[in-house]
Amino acid sequence: MGGQRIAGELKRDVSRASHGVDGMKFLRFDNWSTGLLVPETNKVLDLGRSLGPFRKINAAAADRISGALPEGADGSWVAMIDNWDGVRDSVSALLSALSSPNSKLVTKDLADITLQAPMVAKDSRSFLSAGNIAKHTAQGFKVILGIQQVAKDVHDDVTKPKQQGEPPWGFSVHPELIVGPDATVAPPSSVKKFDYEGEVCAVVGSRGRDIPSEKVRIWGFCALNDWSIRDPVLGIGPRISRGVLSYNLMKNFDTCTSIGPWLVVDEPFDLYNLSVKTRVNGNIRQDWNTSDMIYSFHETAAFLSHYLTMKPGDMIASGTGPGCAIESGVENGLWLRPGDQVEVEVEGAGILRNTVGAF
């Protein structure tokens, strides 16, 4: 789970995103320890190292936070999320304590630190959606199936299954393959057609089976890039999958998913009206809104919970909108190349930036 330096350009986005809201942004330092972005600044509070000094200011709140992190600040956040209603105000108080004189809380400059993927636990599960934004799906099918133009009925074919009661679909990524902001990503050396997919990742706060969608609780969200090997669906190179089940290797390779830079928690954003922009070397490739999702995060979580006990930290990704390289055909200038810088910007959640490495 590599991560490198967060570049200075994020400063603008930080101050804009946190303006006037009372939520918080959780992140993971390079050593996996927990950090919180300090509102209105470019500083990060080191939660683990601040609990001691905070205890002198507000012992009860400090105890509640350490009680919710039984594995320590570099452990899982699952217990904290399970007990979020009892911890939230204590975390807010910790951030507010920064303004008290001589608080001795420990902060660092964002520009000086390396961040990891902001996962709730190292083994958090992920459920990424596929074919969940009609225009992307229709344009992708057109290229894969060799259809000359996107007919109206192709668009209908994409949205109809939900109306007919069919389930959402997607795949999971092994948690060890997920990387963080500024990590270098690369597909295996044999790959010819490498693509980006800018998405939103929602982090589940609920626990249980057979949860109705209206009861699903989403704890936070962040930007996600679902890096994709397209060769097999375009009939290039060796086949890597067949049959009715799949290892999903087009989406499961070392560094295949990046998330970050931080999780936005408890801020008054509408999950279903978030702008998602993807830029490659500064050029806009994707610009869509989560209002276009066919299956909502809540519906997908509810569906999964019929089979699996959902738990805090489970990640559900939106699926991507239009503008991926594959949508422009087999031969085009949009496929990723080594050295490309790819940014996914999700409204209110900052910019997830990664560089494509050699392949």
């Binding site: 389930p167 086949r239 089940l245 699996l308």
Partner: protein, 333 residues
């Protein structure tokens, strides 16, 4: 040697004399230290003080640490020291997995007779016996699915499918643990560390076009296999370096009646070939698990209205050569 996971994830060893007992490794380090301090220290280095750590470091260093574990077993079996063990029937065991977050790759459609029977049961189509091996010769890769590690239960646990399931099936298999790691491995290089009996319980109705659809599209969550309790393994992980894992007999019994009896020599794709494919994409590591795929005799092969579908109260046992008996009872749903 047989490794188990106790309820709190502590590592245990099975000792066979004077009777089948479970030895909690961490709890017996003191007794071992009195007889062989170096062996005790060697075990702590790879397993930690509590024994709950991942087995990956132990597997990676297996050639260096094997004898330390042998020493502990010999010393405990000779009853020469202050070793404490419990009768195996008195101990609740988890799935003997290398870690709670282990990666698991399960193979699908990997036995020609099973695949031919199931295709016939679902579609009525008859395939020549050689079709699936021919596909392999034509360069078509193995296929399968990811197993979520927290869906895996141990021997003795109750298996309960989600509500509404109509066609519930067993699949007797072997779970095999990788002994090495790396990227772009060649099939011939792949080494294994251990194996265990595996049951890949399966929800089948969607395959027969009844009940709600579980998935669609070219990618999937494999929820017909990845439901809570949808995989079982155990009772222990066998490390038997003289045994050929490509010649293991696998038997499945439901309420004592044999339903499956086949050998891993019949598998179309070897686990080593599957590991080689996956390692082009993913850096594999010691402790990654592969489930072999099943042989003929599953309920689905007897058709939608066959009489082999699992019912509440059924006891399902998987027995693999040298691997003990994995036993699970189907709960009410």
């Amino acid at each position: 040697m047989k490794f188990v996971r106790l309820e709190n994830w502590a590592t245990g060893l099975v000792i066979e004399r004077p009777s089948m007992q479970i030895l909690d490794v961490a709890a017996n380090l003191g007794a071992l230290r009195l007889q062989d301090a170096a062996a005790a220290e060697g075990i702590v280095q790879v397993l930690g003080d509590s024994g709950t750590a991942s087995w990956s470091p132990m597997i990676e260093a297996w050639d260096q640490v094997r004898d330390h574990f042998n020493r502990m077993i010999e010393a405990a079996e000779s009853e020469s020291g202050a070793f404490v063990s419990q009768l195996i029937d008195k101990v609740k065991l988890r799935a003997p997995l290398p870690s709670a977050s282990v990666r698991i790759f399960a193979l699908g459609g990997n036995d020609a007779e099973h695949v031919r029977n199931i295709v016939k049961a679902i579609t009525g189509e008859e395939f020549p016996a050689d079709k699936f091996r021919q596909e392999k010769r034509d360069g078509i890769p193995p296929w399968g699915f990811q197993v979520m590690p927290d869906t895996v239960i141990g021997s003795g646990a109750l298996v309960v499918p989600p509500s509404g399931v109509q066609k519930f099936d067993y699949e007797g298999e072997v779970g095999i643990v990788l002994g090495m790691g790396g990227r772009d491995l060649k099939a011939g290089q792949v080494k294994f560390w251990g194996y265990t009996a595996w049951n890949d319980f399966s929800i089948r109705e969607a395959r027969f076009g009844i009940g709600p659809q579980i998935h669609r599209g070219g990618l999937n969550w494999a929820l017909e296999k990845n439901f809570d309790g949808g995989n079982a393994c155990g009772p222990w992980m066998v490390v038997d370096e003289d045994r050929d894992i490509s010649r293991l007999r696998v038997q499945t019994r439901v309420n004592g009646k044999t339903m499956q009896d086949w050998s891993t020599k019949d598998l179309i794709y070897g686990i080593d070939e599957t590991a080689a494919l996956i390692s082009h994409y993913v850096t594999l590591k010691p402790g990654d698990v592969f489930a072999s795929g099943t042989g003929p005799g599953t309920a689905a092969e007897s058709g939608r209205d066959g009489n082999r579908w699992l019912k509440p109260g059924d006891r399902v046992e998987i027995e693999v050569d040298g691997g003990g008996i994995l036993s699970n009872v189907v709960g009410n749903w």
